[in-house]
Structures are given as structure tokens and as C-alpha cells.
């Protein structure tokens, strides 16, 4: 009961900090998912739908990056953006933008690999059909996008899920700064480290609620498109 009170108070109470943390979290996750999708889906289609020299090497590379531990991505971005790093003069460290950069590094291989897998299975048939009506080369991209829009949405959503749940990289490059770069996951870490478990659980439940909300929206979209 006390827990429910804590959650409602956090969400709707007088303290705006949680709402601010949620806003930062969503901003970071939306932008990283957007950029990762803009790169990853076209790249995945190109990789999955074509046969070319070096395809296997490239696939292996993407799959390797898929296993990139978040803290390593965080470390790379940290070292690049650090005051003494090669991109230090951009003054990006400990900003939401830095967090987006690290997340894009993590999520793009994921979206690329999932897309390539999905497209690859059906590529031969679709390529044949499209070739039959005279559509070849990059013109096919549009048809792949249309054909797979629903599974693509699921992939994008899975990418979003990864982004919103990640903690190691965003802690390193975001710095968990109050009112600036503190997101749900780093806040949960911090509260746990401070021994405030109830607050941490409340934050965790809020995080799950957000996830549920987004999933429900996507479910409806899928249903509507299926009904069409």
C-alpha cells in the first residue's frame, strides 16, 4: 500500500523531478531509436536483400557489434568526447546528446542485424517478383519498407526497449546529473546505491508502465493494419 502511495506521489505529486527524469529518458530513447532506425533499417535491407562480395564478412561484423557490451560503447564515447579526447572541443560529454551517440552505437547494429535477418529469409522471392515488373536496385527499398512495415515497427520498438533499459553506457557518458542527464535507469541505480529500495522499486514500476503503454500502442497499430 505504501508502495502504491509512493508511486502515485512520484507520478502526480508536487515534486516535478520524476516527470523531468521521464522526459529526459523519453527524449534520449526516442532520438537514439530514430537515428538508429534511419541508419539500421536501410542498411539491414541492403545487407539482407542483396548478394555481394564481402556480404559474409559484413554480416559477421554486424553480429560482432551486436555483442558490444554497453560499458565498452560507453567507454569509447567517453574517451572520444572527454576534454582530452579527440572530439573534446565539441563539449558534448555529460549531455543528452552524448547519451544518444552512445545509444546509437549500441542499437544500430541490433536494428541492422534484425532487419537483415528478416529481409534475408524472403529476399529471393521478393527480388524475383520485383524483377518481373522491372523494379531493380535501390528502387526496391521502398517496396521492402512497405512490405515489412509491421515487423519493422516491432524491430524499432525492440530497439527502443533496449535504449530505455540501458544503464552502463548512459551512466558513463551522461554522468547521471540531476535535472540534466539523469534517466530512469541511472536514477534506479542511484537510489539502490543509497539504500532507498522503495523509491527504486517505484521507479522500476514506472519504467514498466511506460513500456506497457508503448507496447499497447504498437499492438493497436498492428491490429489496425492487419484489419485493413
Amino acid at each position: 500500500m505504501e508502495l502504491i502511495n509512493t508511486i502515485t506521489d512520484l507520478l502526480f505529486g508536487s515534486d516535478p523531478e520524476l516527470r523531468q527524469i521521464i522526459a529526459v529518458t523519453l527524449r534520449m530513447s526516442l532520438f537514439s531509436t530514430l537515428f538508429s532506425s534511419l541508419i539500421g533499417i536501410p542498411a539491414g535491407i541492403l545487407l539482407g536483400a542483396n548478394n555481394f562480395r564481402g556480404k559474409r564478412v559484413l554480416t559477421r561484423l554486424v553480429n560482432t557489434l551486436l555483442g558490444l557490451p554497453p560499458v565498452v560503447a560507453g567507454l569509447i564515447v567517453f574517451l572520444l568526447l572527454s576534454r582530452s579526447g579527440s572530439l573534446g572541443n565539441l563539449k558534448l560529454l555529460y549531455t543528452v546528446n552524448a547519451m544518444v551517440v552512445a545509444q546509437v552505437l549500441l542499437i544500430t547494429p541490433y536494428i541492422t542485424a534484425m532487419t537483415a535477418n528478416l529481409v534475408g529469409v524472403n529476399a529471393a522471392t521478393i527480388n524475383e517478383t520485383l524483377a518481373g515488373v522491372g523494379i531493380r536496385g535501390t528502387k526496391r527499398l521502398k517496396y521492402f519498407l512497405l512490405d515489412f512495415r509491421v515487423p519493422f515497427l516491432t524491430i524499432v520498438l525492440a530497439g527502443f526497449g533496449r535504449s530505455i533499459a540501458e544503464v552502463g553506457a548512459v551512466q558513463m557518458v551522461g554522468g547521471n546529473i540531476q535535472y540534466k542527464t539523469r534517466v530512469m535507469t541511472t536514477a534506479i541505480m542511484m537510489q539502490t546505491n543509497m539504500g532507498r529500495f522503495e523509491f527504486a522499486i517505484a521507479l522500476g514500476i514506472v519504467l514498466l508502465l511506460i513500456s506497457l503503454l508503448i507496447n499497447s500502442v504498437v499492438f493497436r497499430v498492428q491490429k489496425v493494419t492487419a484489419d485493413d
Partner: protein, 273 residues
């Protein structure tokens, strides 16, 4: 022939094992769970004392470290037998819960104010930490706060209170909610001031400079609290008491006094009389 060798090896092993058992009187519960603040662990003090303690008493020390707030919380949750922390107010709050526990202050060191080499707020030469904080606030220089309810954070809050300044929400005040090491990294990257315990600062690699140390209002006292069996029946009170007794022996006091001298040219911790 082979069997004969085996017999010899086995009997040798048994003799060794038996003699090892005879060496120390075996404590019943050999594992002592200690919850410490990050500074004593990150500075390497615990790793340095641990083997000597284990050899002297026969206990196995399991150390977890966190900010003082969380370190004390582990005592509340029954996840630690002994607390080694440095925040008087938080310690007294814990004891006031009424389980007949006592805090045993045993060593101290000093907090330091560190910041960018050019010292934009002119903190160096201040008589007290309060004066230095006033200069930082007046000049609006960036200040990084631990913001994690650790002993260091509590000390920082007390200093702000002493000059009647509320830094939270100010544009120059950055609260990171992280341990001392990460906070120093952030301060280094942002070229900002921060309050640190000296041991962690000396062990941390950065370009920050110590601008103020050893003022009266920056004394940092470390205490131990044995978690009472009244709180949790399975608490290893005997083991915790063995550590409290051992740390006050001549051997341990000498080790503490010598710790860090070789590496930093000065001790990092001082024994309380």
C-alpha cells in the same frame, strides 16, 4: 610402488591439514560480512588490512562497499555484521533505532577541496571550508556534489548549511548521485570544484589540484558499528567484535599509520587516541 607413493602423499596432506586446524582456534561462523564506505575500500586500506586480520583471528572477511547511506542500510537489511562508516548523523540515527549498538570511532582523516589548477574561485588559503564554499558560491564556479547521501555528501550539506546557502537548483551546482571516484572524474571533465576524502583523491588519476585541506571543519571520523543480534539473530556478533578488537591492537594501529606513506609520502588515515 605407485600405491606406496599415493599413501605417502595422502598422509602428508592429512598431516598438513591437521596441523593447519591446530593453529587457530576455529570460530563457529567464520564469515564476517563487513559493509564499508567507499573511501576505505577504494583507497586500498581494507585490502591491505584484510590478510593480517584474517591471519590473526581465523575469520574470512567479505567486504562490500557503498556510500555511507547504503552501507548503513545493509546493516538494517541484515546483509552485514559490521559497519565501517563515516557520517556521525547517519550513524546516530541507526543506533537510535534501539538495538543496543555502539559506535566505535577509531580513525580519522581530512576532507579536501579540489578543483581546476587555476583555482577560479580563489579557494586556496581559505581559513575554513565554509569560507571556501562561500567563495565558490559567490563566484558561481561549478561545483560537483556527490548527491548520494554518503558521508562526504552529508559533510558537504553541513558546510553549505553553516553558511546558510542552499546550492540545490543553482546553475553552478551539479548533483551527480555517484561514488567519489566517478564524481572526481566528472569534476575533472567539467573543470569544477568538489569535496573529496583525501585518500580517494590521491588514489584517483585526474588533473585536479588540492586547494584546501586539514581545516577544522573538514575532519572526517570513521567509526565501526557491530550489528546487534537483537536486530538479526544470525548476525555474526563474535566475528564483528573480533574485528573491532583487532583494529585497536598495536599491530593494526601501526599498519593504519603506515598506510600510504610509501606511495604518497604521507599517511592517509590517522588513529584516534
Amino acid at each position: 610402488m605407485k600405491n606406496f607413493k599415493k599413501v605417502i602423499v595422502l598422509s602428508l596432506i592429512s598431516i598438513l591439514l591437521l596441523s593447519a586446524v591446530g593453529c587457530t582456534t576455529e570460530p563457529e561462523n567464520k564469515v564476517l560480512r563487513m559493509s564499508t564506505t567507499t573511501s576505505v575500500n577504494d583507497s586500498g586500506l581494507m585490502a591491505y588490512l584484510q590478510p593480517a586480520f584474517e591471519e590473526a583471528t581465523g575469520y574470512t572477511l567479505e567486504i562490500t562497499s557503498a556510500g555511507t547511506g547504503a552501507a548503513i542500510e545493509k546493516g538494517r537489511m541484515g546483509d552485514a555484521d559490521l559497519l565501517l562508516v563515516h557520517s556521525k548523523s547517519a550513524e546516530e540515527e541507526f543506533i537510535a533505532e534501539g538495538f543496543d549498538e555502539v559506535r566505535v570511532p577509531f580513525m580519522y582523516n581530512f576532507f579536501v577541496i579540489v578543483g581546476p589548477a587555476d583555482d577560479p574561485a580563489g579557494v586556496a588559503g581559505s581559513a575554513t571550508a565554509a569560507e571556501a564554499f562561500q567563495k565558490i558560491a559567490d563566484s558561481g564556479s561549478l561545483f560537483i556534489s556527490r548527491g548520494d547521501e554518503s558521508g562526504t555528501h552529508n559533510k558537504e550539506i553541513a558546510i553549505w548549511k553553516s553558511i546558510e546557502t542552499e546550492p540545490s537548483g543553482q546553475s553552478w551546482y551539479v548533483s551527480v548521485g555517484q561514488g567519489m571516484g566517478q564524481t572526481l572524474t566528472v569534476a575533472d571533465e567539467m573543470q569544477a570544484y568538489t569535496l573529496s576524502d583525501k585518500a580517494t583523491f590521491l588514489a584517483h588519476e585526474d588533473a585536479l589540484v588540492m586547494h584546501l585541506e586539514e581545516t577544522d571543519d573538514m575532519k572526517n571520523t570513521y567509526s565501526m558499528i557491530v550489528v546487534s543480534a537483537k536486530r538479526f539473530a544470525e548476525s555474526n556478533v563474535a566475528g564483528a567484535q573480533a574485528f573491532v578488537d583487532w583494529i585497536q591492537t598495536e599491530q593494526a594501529r601501526k599498519m593504519i599509520a603506515e598506510f600510504g606513506v610509501a606511495e604518497y609520502g604521507e599517511p592517509l588515515f590517522f588513529n584516534l587516541d
